[in-house]
Symmetry: C2
Subunit: 199 residues, 2 copies
Amino acid sequence: MSKREEILSAAASLFAVKGFRDTTMGEVAALVGTAASTVFYHFKTKEEIFLSILQSVEEEIRQAVHEHRQQLNSRPAKGIDHVLAAVDFMLRLAGSRAEIFLILHHRFPYELAVVNDACRRRLEQIHDLFTLLFEDAVHLGHADGSVVAGDPRRIAMVVFALVDGLIKVKTFHLYEAAALYNEALALTRRMLQEETPPP
Amino acid sequence: MSKREEILSAAASLFAVKGFRDTTMGEVAALVGTAASTVFYHFKTKEEIFLSILQSVEEEIRQAVHEHRQQLNSRPAKGIDHVLAAVDFMLRLAGSRAEIFLILHHRFPYELAVVNDACRRRLEQIHDLFTLLFEDAVHLGHADGSVVAGDPRRIAMVVFALVDGLIKVKTFHLYEAAALYNEALALTRRMLQEETPPP
DNA sequence: AAACATATCGACTGATCAGTCAGTCAGTTT
DNA sequence: AAACTGACTGACTGATCAGTCGATATGTTT
């Protein structure tokens, strides 16, 4: 692992837990085990470090979504099952790569996005990766009649809001969130599944 | 309005938009129209200001919830309708008193709660005000058979996660959120309503 | 009018922190 | 061995900001 990657990894951990503003370059340097000035040899500014992290976050999510979609294609299923698989995928990702969602659940990235185009585009990309996953599944469900009628984009947004809210509940330790996942999946199915009348 | 209240009001606006750490006492003072040192005559520390704001936030929500519950009592309805009325209530509150949710959607209050008991208790109280509203409605729905079976606390948490997620989508301007509200209400009904079989 | 209380302010302090810079050092090239 | 290079560092700077303090002004009480 290059020094550059070491710094990014250390900064990501700290940004995830303490946020951008409350993490000093001294802390990052201490975690890497170098002088603060060394960090500035590898990166021009603190913000540049954050943007690099956001880039790898996007790439990691894109890769995970790609793998998830390929798994689905190999064994075809109803649209409603695609929706639920997408919900399960996102909840699992939030469990295995908690750092990603900790970073994204801070306010800072969205504030930076207002004044920084690159940041704004990345956040939009990340957001789209998830919502398009839901939206495509809903489209499929409309085609095979397994998902309730309604604007696919809006339905996808509501599902996204639900899952994101669940992840936030877990992040802030408001409830033993893992216990909610099965309940949430069952309720999501109820919410979206179209009963196929017996022929 | 006393100077004390003026300061709280100004600080609340700034904390809502910029957050606690990114708001300087100079900005607060400027918004009130006094010297920064005058603010420190009325409040010992910046944190004390924040805790006072959180207190009034709790009181305001408690009052709003109280009024909502009284309105419901006056004209009885099915449990499922209580749930939907609660969702509508929370979404409306997020619209009319956006500042409250902006403050609560920052990370700072939850970080302060870790080291400050008073803050932790207040956040728990606020959280309970909403979730108990949902939970009571679910209980009612179980009694009259209008809400699907399942642990009321968990169902309440899932509904809370959904609504909170929707409010966040709106806060961060990820989607024209108002357009989602009707969709969200309809989907919530689908998710929870127990079909009463024709007698 | 003297004594006291309340409210305000400008000037200051001490601490923190992102970022700079001149220079060291180990390894490579010429 | 001289010249060069990339990685690294400690000491520093300039700016920012929460909070302090002594002075002052404006009532209010005795």
